[in-house]
Symmetry: D3
């Protein structure tokens, strides 16, 4: 890997999140030559695996293994690396060791962008916890006194929030619509790894089509499939439009 390769980092609470909410951005930037890494804080073993738990006598470690396998296959389809933290879900509880590892990841990648959850989500407390964790790591990574290394090139990257399940209830407001037309088929294939959640395949296909039409309306340029993002910090620009 060349040191000039651009990178992106995704921080999600559960495996489904990176597929439904940001799979297009992952695949698109991979296609553009970025190294993209997914930091998946839990396996979604308790809250996102309703189907697995219907089988009598199923064990936690089996559910985790099954979910991990799915997540890895989905990441592979999208072209991304994936690292797990096994922080638990429902509730997700992060530790100082996890935070330390996350800061190291920021230093290793020096990402051009970070993708994570919305700031609020009254339906799922793990989601804003993942966002809080990602933001804390991003900021600590800036501290010269954290594992001091004067040659470290780190600059805190822009943060983009991907779309929650019920955006208005999360006070989520898109500021960008990413055109994912050229990777839609890849994203859709990643959906299909999540075999137990087939009803969501269609739900998130509809979301992508409607965001795509909105992208077209806002820009006057045709877009079929879109992903919404909310940018957290002001952008420094050289030209307006």
């Amino acid at each position: 890997m060349s040191s000039l390769q651009k990178t992106g980092l995704v921080v999600t609470a559960h495996p489904g999140d990176f597929v439904w909410r940001t799979g297009g951005a992952v695949a698109l930037h991979v296609k553009r030559g970025y190294r993209v890494k997914i930091l998946c804080l839990s396996y979604g073993e308790r809250g996102e695996s309703q189907f697995a738990w219907k089988k009598a006598g199923v064990k936690m470690e089996d559910v985790k293994a099954q979910r991990r396998d799915e997540a890895e296959r989905a990441a592979t389809i999208l072209g991304a690396e994936i690292e797990f933290m096994d922080a638990g879900d429902y509730p997700l509880r992060t530790t100082e060791a996890m935070l330390d590892r996350a800061v190291d990841i920021f230093h290793e990648l020096t990402p051009s962008f970070v993708l994570t959850h919305s700031l609020q989500d009254p339906y799922n407390v793990d989601h804003p916890e993942a966002t809080r964790f990602a933001q804390e790591a991003r900021i600590i990574a800036q501290a010269a006194g954290h594992k001091p290394d004067p040659n470290r090139p780190y600059s805190a990257p822009p943060v983009f929030l991907f779309e929650p399940h019920q955006p208005e209830q999360c006070n989520y407001k898109p500021t960008l619509i990413l055109n994912i037309d050229e990777v839609w088929e890849v994203k859709r294939r990643a959906f299909e790894v999540l075999a137990a959640q087939q009803h969501l395949w269609e739900y998130y296909t509809r979301v992508a089509l409607n965001r795509g039409m909105q992208g077209g309306r806002n820009s006057g340029r045709a877009m079929t499939y879109g992903e919404a993002y909310q940018r957290l910090f002001p952008e420094a620009v050289e030209v307006l439009a």
Copy 2:
């Protein structure tokens, strides 16, 4: 002028506004080859001309002429065209004829961006009125049934709000910081046309320096002078960062 030349439109309530708040964007895009037009709704004759009215017996038409002259000189320094509507100030009152003309301007320019005031300003009711007017014209220009012409290429441009005098009181939140380093001297020369408001030269120089430092902090790239903008509509993008 080539039909391929990009254009920008600025809609301001008073002459001072386009100098202090958006003079850098005007000069920068002119330098980049854009045709930029300023639609200046009033001469700021009553509310922005405290100095002129201190002279006994001064007449409204004289104040207007003097302000118009200043505005034209400032626009020339920035490299922009300027058109006035003489809508009055304190209060600014727009008419259907002005609206019709503004729609025509949108059609003529097919601008790549529109720059206007913040959505709220409890210190100056003319400012949000100018914003409302600009937004209404921008939307009407989209209507196929307004002066129908099936060959009209118009697509509603993005809107960027420039910075008001007391941003927090206007619920203004920057989403972009434009680097105006390469045109700072031009903007500063335009300040100097507004000879009666010398105290504001320094005020807005400080604003530019502080926005510049913020631009640097947000991007990790050095910026000395900045102008803040708030984007109103989601942006359709092909890559995140």
Copy 3:
């Protein structure tokens, strides 16, 4: 019509709005025995009729007539009465006479609910103007001194805002999801009257399916097709749930 029949009132800026945004509520309450009246402030002749204006030499009166015909057919399918105000669109401009007529309608119907647009819509200034107009009429209708009649039974009804095209950009937040499963086919047939906007048939079908799934998630009761509403005033209740 029995004086005991319940009634509902819809106030929309343009014909498309009552079909896409609230056609399910209209059909559902008609099915439940309500008299529902649509007050359609304009024909959407300039802004919602892109297709009609592509024909050379087309006249405003023809476009209006064509749109009126469509709106009447859609209302008939939904089972509602419709009244037009011909207030123009892009921009919609209401008059005191229209306001007076709207107050009379409130008095005649004594509706159990009013359905209208979101409070804000940066994409379409006609929409919040219709909302403002509906709210003003609703309030004036309360005034004992407006066409005094001590026997008038009027009580200001609850207001529900139907969903705009890009809800987050309008700061729209659903507080109710209406289950429209039993009238979905009726709503869909009303879509098909709007032959020139076939791309929106699928868009609003997807909206209905996704709101339906959200309705199911929020209640634990299956729902396939939903319409979102935002209630404006507190509800007085005898039991919580």
Copy 4:
């Protein structure tokens, strides 16, 4: 009247408003030696006079005269001057001539404060219209070119919003609680002029008692009767507390 006498200005939509919402502030500042003037935009003849309209054959001019008389008696009890604009109510419609007169009043009084309605009120469109009107007049009064007079001492006064009927629905947030203990009996006597609204006497007595207890909680100093205000502009201070 000495030129050193401090003054206050109240701008209300209807007579009831200045009694219920700000009668304590009026009486208190009068007691402190201020000249207080109430600018009452309408007589509340249509919307605030339910009782009067129950009498068969009652005429608009009679209702207005009766309401004017009540308002004058209430103002007298509070110790304030009152001026009416007869702008109508439900809906209240202001004219340029009224605005001009309001600007003159700002110039004549050079008030130390302006009291008016909340910024929003979904129950009563006349209220925010009065606020808008008061704010516009306050700002125009600053314009050197409005009836130019270089010796005019005017400086735009702070604006305080008094409490609406249902504060949370109006997005109203108190920032000050004024202790009105020493004038409570005066305010209560002014209530009693409004004989037809006896149910509101008790309602607003309860509001005063509850705001008083909140005032005590926020300050640690006993307060029995309070009036809530929301300050609109930042205060310049020489000490914090």
Copy 5:
């Protein structure tokens, strides 16, 4: 107890809260046949017991016992069960064991509604902590992998926030007003258990009367005593009004 009996759950930080803020809802639903359970996270022993601590040498365990006794008597009057967590107050600190127990309670009750504090309260950090805790438990209870039991009928119930002491400062906005006329005397008797806080008896009686009048205004149906609630999630409905 029949398995068809509906249930309600109240989660409060301190004993006073369930009496002042939601005693009417508790008594009303009990009267309607619901089983209502109060989960009282602390005894309010440090912050709500100013009176008890005035006695020299009083011990923490005595204050707790005295408060527990009061809380139990108040719950009995209202007709509810009560369970304590002894999480401490000022500050209230919850543990994983408490969370686990709370999840079990959600499973046992499968409540039709949950009543808890406002989302924010700058006067009392225990209140939003109780809300956060209630929400987390409600969500974890949904996870199939938490104490897996495929036959568990749980569906996450609607959440209603009861009214804080100073609603506007808590950004609290009522969306429902519950008519508690038929149980007012019961609620008032529960007040009287809290003998040391007699000044609050009157305060909250005034709150109930004013909310009652607001309930009447919003519905056109008479209401004397009301309790305000803010609903957190969209409601799925079959009819609008």
Copy 6:
């Protein structure tokens, strides 16, 4: 020290914060005869000491000592006492023991005001953590059952939030501008202790000048240097202006 001496308390995350953001208020109140104490939660050793960490082999204890020395010298210039908690920075982690000590400080000082950070700061998670900590201590100090002492005179003081680095991004809205003209030179001398951050000397001088001009605009009284504050709780007043 007389028991009648008024006091003020400042709670900051890092040393730089009390210098840049609130040094004027500290010096001004000291000049007015107040005892002012700064509770500095960390030494800013990791995140605010970029310069120190550029030296190879530098040790954490040395950086802390150096920062502590700077902070003490700056406090001395301003005339304030300072106490450190050594809670760490990037991230700042408070303990129950620190909270207990902070409550004692509230009891010892019975301050007339508390100054702390903004409620939000997406650039620095230590800042809102300091605010949260200060608020929790302020509230616990009110509890009669916390280290019971019936003779304790404590009443919870008003809280003022000082200005963050990028106010709009922190949803910070000034409600007060403190005139610091008479202590500006003192504040500026405190800046100069922070030798490694010379670029911020000019940044915060510009902030002070621009806030000063805003203070003048809002009051009509000249002000050269200002500091912005946001008051959190309603103020109980005896007169409006």
